[in-house]
Amino acid sequence: MRVLWNELKKILTWKMLFLLVLLNSVLYFFLIEFDIEHFPNGRPALDSYNIGIEMIEKYGTHMDEEEFLDFKQAYDEQVKEADQYLQSRREFVEAGLVTYEKFKHFDRDNEELNALHSKVMFEEKEVNTFWELQERERLIEFYDMKDELRGYDNAQQKQRMEELIASKKYGVYPEVVIMNFRDFIGNVTIAILFSVVLVISPMILKDRSRQMLALQYTSKKGRNLFKTKILAGLISTFSVITALLIVYFGVYSLNDTSMYFDVPINTFIGNASWYDPTFFQYILLCVAAIYLIGFVFGLLAMSFSSFVPNSMALIGIQIPFIVGMIIVIGGPLMRYIISIWNPQWLAPTVYSGMIVISVIFIILLWRREKNRDIVL
């Protein structure tokens, strides 16, 4: 236990923690801040977000025909409200825009009407009606198309869409929250993977280049220390991922999306998936995926650290590797981990493959370490 603790102390030094904070501050401002500061990002995203909450509060996580009629009725009432608003404003009456229908289909070539339209949409921030109506119309349109197959590339996707329609899991809830979460979690994954590699990469190389091995491997613990170092590396990986997830999800909580947690992800617009978790379960799935990729990156970083000759070579290998992996993993394997736009087998196969490869790497390196001559 003392040996393990000592190895952990060697990895998680104050200097390393400072670098970790620095790296994450930079990555936060470059990648993550936007998804927090600008959520919902303008209009109609804000209206989409608000209407989504209203739908969840009124209809729960599924909307049936009767509830849809209620939703439509709410729309009709808001149209009347818009009519009244327009009729109460002299400039709109003079311009002939006395109903919402007319307002919606105004002559865009007419500069005076354009100015009036812009005034109510963009300048009078307290008037939400017209933005909300626009969003409600979009949602109604999606509900009206709920039984249609909206494009597919292959038989499996078609079959899955048919299954979803048959089980009435229609994509009708506003997607603004899940789209924001996807961008957020994709960027958080990048920050976490860079952090794991930063912390783990030097650990084995440092002892080797400092010529510590001769003393370590002739002690009672001997070459088994390599295994303890791997364990310390995995614990450090877990600690770094957990700490960063706590921080980043703490920041994410500012987006206030918990009302959406029970909504099945298949009922968000354009979000057909192979499986049917709720939004919260989807978040947990992404967290699990981050841990998994983090451990794979940690193990591979330790592997590289075990055989590269020096720090420059380590950086030379790690940077293209991380960037390449993030390009491959970031999209299909994190943001769209269970989306039907990727083959159903892709994520489980790639994740299992990565685990198997990294474990094989470590086993081979352990066998090499057990028998190799410590010449320097």
């Binding site: 040996v3 010529q211 510590m212 001769a214 370590q216 491997y217 002739t218 009672k220 613990k221 001997g222």
Partner: protein
Amino acid sequence: MILVKDISKQYGDFTALENINLEFTNGLYGLLAPNGAGKTTLIKMLATLIAPSKGEILYNGKNIVAMDEDYRSLLGYLPQQFGFYKNYTPKQYLLYLAALKGIGKKEALDKIDDLLEKVALREVTNKKMKKFSGGMIQRVGIAQSLLNDPKILILDEPTAGLDPKERARFRHLLTELARERLVIVSTHIVSDVETIANEIIMIKNRQLLYKDSVERICATLDGHVYETTIPYEQLETYRRQFVLLSEKQERGSMVIRFIHKGEAEANWLPLAPQLEDVFLYEYRDDIGEEV
């Protein structure tokens, strides 16, 4: 007892050691050879850091590699070059290594105090090692090799970086330690082991040359070591004809110590051979045919 049986070591086409057979019991052994002769290879094999290409090393009849941690528990080892964490103090560093050696923290703390006293580093127990001189680092290295009170102590060039006073102190420490354990000291500095080693081991051309007491090794040159005074102009001739062991200027002439295995001249003073003479003779560069 350690038995080195028919050990050879090859790195690709390069042979570092060939058919080495040795036996070590308690006492102090000086492994003496010039740099690059294979001392460190042999030492590293004894420390299980390098595996022999051929042969095996036995401790009390058991293969040291198969003994695994049972062998390493008995071992204290100081490598020729060893690493340290520059932000650690000697105390932290020794505690780290004590944990690897399976020594409990409390026991280690007592032992560390004692050892730092022995190597005269007590005052800097809690100072960061990054500020230490080479000699101080070497003394920390010596202390770590003694942490587990080893039965077998292997020291590779232990006096590197030590000043004459520290060397003398170290020799006393070794003499004390060798009374009840096996100590193997690898060095290319004859004076490190000449007066304290029970036996000297010399390796030449990848093979064992001598494993014997200092007296018996010196006896191989009995009657062949001379001293004489010559004019400076003759120095080059002597250098070509004999193995010169030392040269010094004295009152405008040269006093030389040399080896000659034939008939002596009248003005040559015969001397008792020293270990350094054997060392210089055996590891000499190409010498004229006279010797």
